[in-house]
């Protein structure tokens, strides 16, 4: 007799569930499925041909893929470390400022408000070998009379991209670390001063443990960002010339849209996700360790 009546909470959640499914789940399943097909954008019927793990094997055997993978890990490691150090320095400086600190904090946020595409164009101009600011400055200072090929030479281009990444994201670290500095209680710092610490020792033994959780949060956020880096590189060098600055996602983007090999691109994408997952898990573990160190774990 009685018809099935779903519980009220389920009915109330249903709209959210449906929207989430439509926006997140279905594209996810579709792309995952397509990574097991030779799906080409130009030939829709290929979507229905099952080729098993062929795409994955192809990616794992591809030197281009692993070169891009390695380059991404390298960029991630260098960028994160430098951004962390610079962000820490910046935060410590701003923390010392008493007058005009709010204005400084706002200015510090500016790079975060810039779209990465815009950052890409900015730095493409700055590092341009003929009209760019860097070369002009170097030449005016008489440090060189050549037009340094910033965006053409592999290593120089890497440095140029690194600079752009750092410009746009150092403030992520600075802001989060500054928040951490605000949360450091005054008492233990004063106790350390009385206990004989120099300012550096107070920082090293007391302040730093307090802000480590904030540093790890910033590292987790930024590792996700850099593992997915695309826009800035795409604009500045397009992964080139001749793949010299190819990162994972520029490779994947080109494979998917220029070469139209959607299935293959998706397979590479799913392998790459592990990179992001690995770093995120790693930093979250560090975060929890740092928090329990301070007796904050719960």
């Amino acid at each position: 007799m009685s018809r099935f009546r779903p519980p009220v909470w389920f009915v109330l959640l249903l709209p959210a569930i449906i929207i989430l499914a439509a926006v997140v789940l279905i594209p996810l399943i579709l792309s995952f499925y397509s990574s097991f097909t030779p799906y080409k954008l130009t030939r829709p019927d290929t979507l229905y041909k099952w080729i098993g793990t062929f795409n994955y094997e192809k990616a794992i055997k591809s030197t281009h893929f692993w070169a891009a993978f390695g380059r991404t890990v390298l960029l991630l490691t260098i960028a994160l470390n430098l951004e962390m150090l610079m962000g820490l320095g910046l935060a410590l400086l701003v923390n010392k400022v008493t007058y005009g600190q709010r204005a400084l904090r706002t200015i510090m946020m500016f790079p975060m408000m810039f779209s990465p595409v815009l950052v890409g164009f900015q730095f493409k101009f700055i590092f341009n070998d003929n009209v760019g600011l860097v070369n002009n400055a170097l030449q005016s200072l008489g440090l060189t009379d050549k037009a340094i090929p910033w965006l053409v030479d592999g290593q120089l281009a890497f440095i140029a991209i690194l600079t752009a990444e750092m410009w746009s994201a150092t403030s992520v670290f600075a802001i989060l670390i500054l928040a951490g500095l605000f949360a450091v209680p005054r008492d233990p710092i004063e106790a350390a001063k009385v206990d004989g610490c120099t300012p550096w020792q107070s920082f090293r033994h007391i302040t730093l443990p307090y802000i480590m959780p904030f540093i790890y949060i910033a590292l987790a956020i930024r590792s996700l960002d850099v593992a997915r880096a695309y826009d800035i590189v795409q604009i500045m060098t397009n992964g080139g010339p001749a793949r010299r600055t190819e990162l994972l996602w520029t490779l994947i983007g080109r494979t998917g849209y220029i070469d139209a090999k959607m299935g293959y691109a998706n397979a590479m994408g799913y392998i790459s996700i592990f990179l992001a997952i690995f770093f995120t898990v790693y930093f979250f573990r560090k975060l929890n360790a740092a928090r329990s160190e301070l007796g904050m774990a719960g």
């Binding site: 209680p185 008492d187 233990p188 004063e190 106790a191 350390a192 001063k193 009385v194 206990d195 004989g196 610490c197 120099t198 020792q201 033994h205 007391i206 443990p209 160190e293 301070l294 007796g295």
Partner: protein, 362 residues
Amino acid sequence: MAQVHLRDVVKKYGAIQVVHGIDLEIQDNEFVVLVGPSGCGKSTTLRMIAGLEDISGGEITIGDRVVNDLPPRHRNISMVFQNYALYPHMTVRENLGFSLKIAKRPQDEIDRAVDEAAGILSLAEYLDRKPGELSGGQRQRVAMGRAIVRHPEVFLFDEPLSNLDAKLRTQMRTEIKKLHQKVKSTIVYVTHDQVEAMTLADRIVIMRDGHIEQVGTPLDVFESPANTFVATFIGSPPMNLLRGRITGDTISLTDGPLISLPPQFASNVADGQDVILGFRADNLMPVGHAMPMEGAYAEFKMTVNLSEPLGTETLLFGALAGKEVQAKMLNPRPLQNGEQLQFQLDLTRCHLFDAQTEQSLR
């Protein structure tokens, strides 16, 4: 050897002056307590001695060094903070040994000092815990242990017991007193609790609004308060204060009885002078319920509105000269509220203050 001398020490925060030229000489091994209501500048003074606050004027010396411009680490002091200020990420052992580690002492010396401090303060079984895993009393002891491992010349305590419950506070008070006898050194101790001050101090410094009101031994400040502020701040219950005017050799209390002038003040007052008469509850007792009084005393009737039996004695609340007055009664007997009794006031133990300046007329 560490005397601490403050000479005309001033502290300003911007335009606001919170410590107004304090002079204080603290002897070697002396236990000095700064006491006063909250906001009177005790912590600020202590923090200036520690070097945690700049000195806006005057001079502070520790031993024979002027320390005005020395950072805390060069002053050879230890401080115990009100909120313990332990290092949360270090174990008790690391907390205790931190200052020695910073001073790059050899590990076996650090271990010995930590074990010694842990022994004195019964912390041995908690050495491997972190502060988050300790009770308030244990944290307090760690904070004290951290202060004693270094054998500093001067200990500074800023309300170290105010976060503990009453029982623990009494217990720790005794511990601190014992500690001072064990590790001889100069102690400057801040509290707003006059009982703590009375029980701990060799000398008490009573402060109000950034000024020192009186300096003296606990007995001094209790027996001869320099002004009405000290009179009401030290001692429990607070001293009774009644306004009046000198007429001949009596004091005519405002809206109250005539009382003969306490003989010890006879030559210090002028006829017609406005005064404040002060006396403690212990010196006002109902006839027949007190030790018989010797020397000069005054006698008058007073209505008792409330009584609080305290065991060996009973505290009485009466009305005299339009003000509430506290008295004491030995030999407790049941009292009716509103009962009128004959009281005797021991004039030899009375105090007299000028009504304008509120300073003692002694």
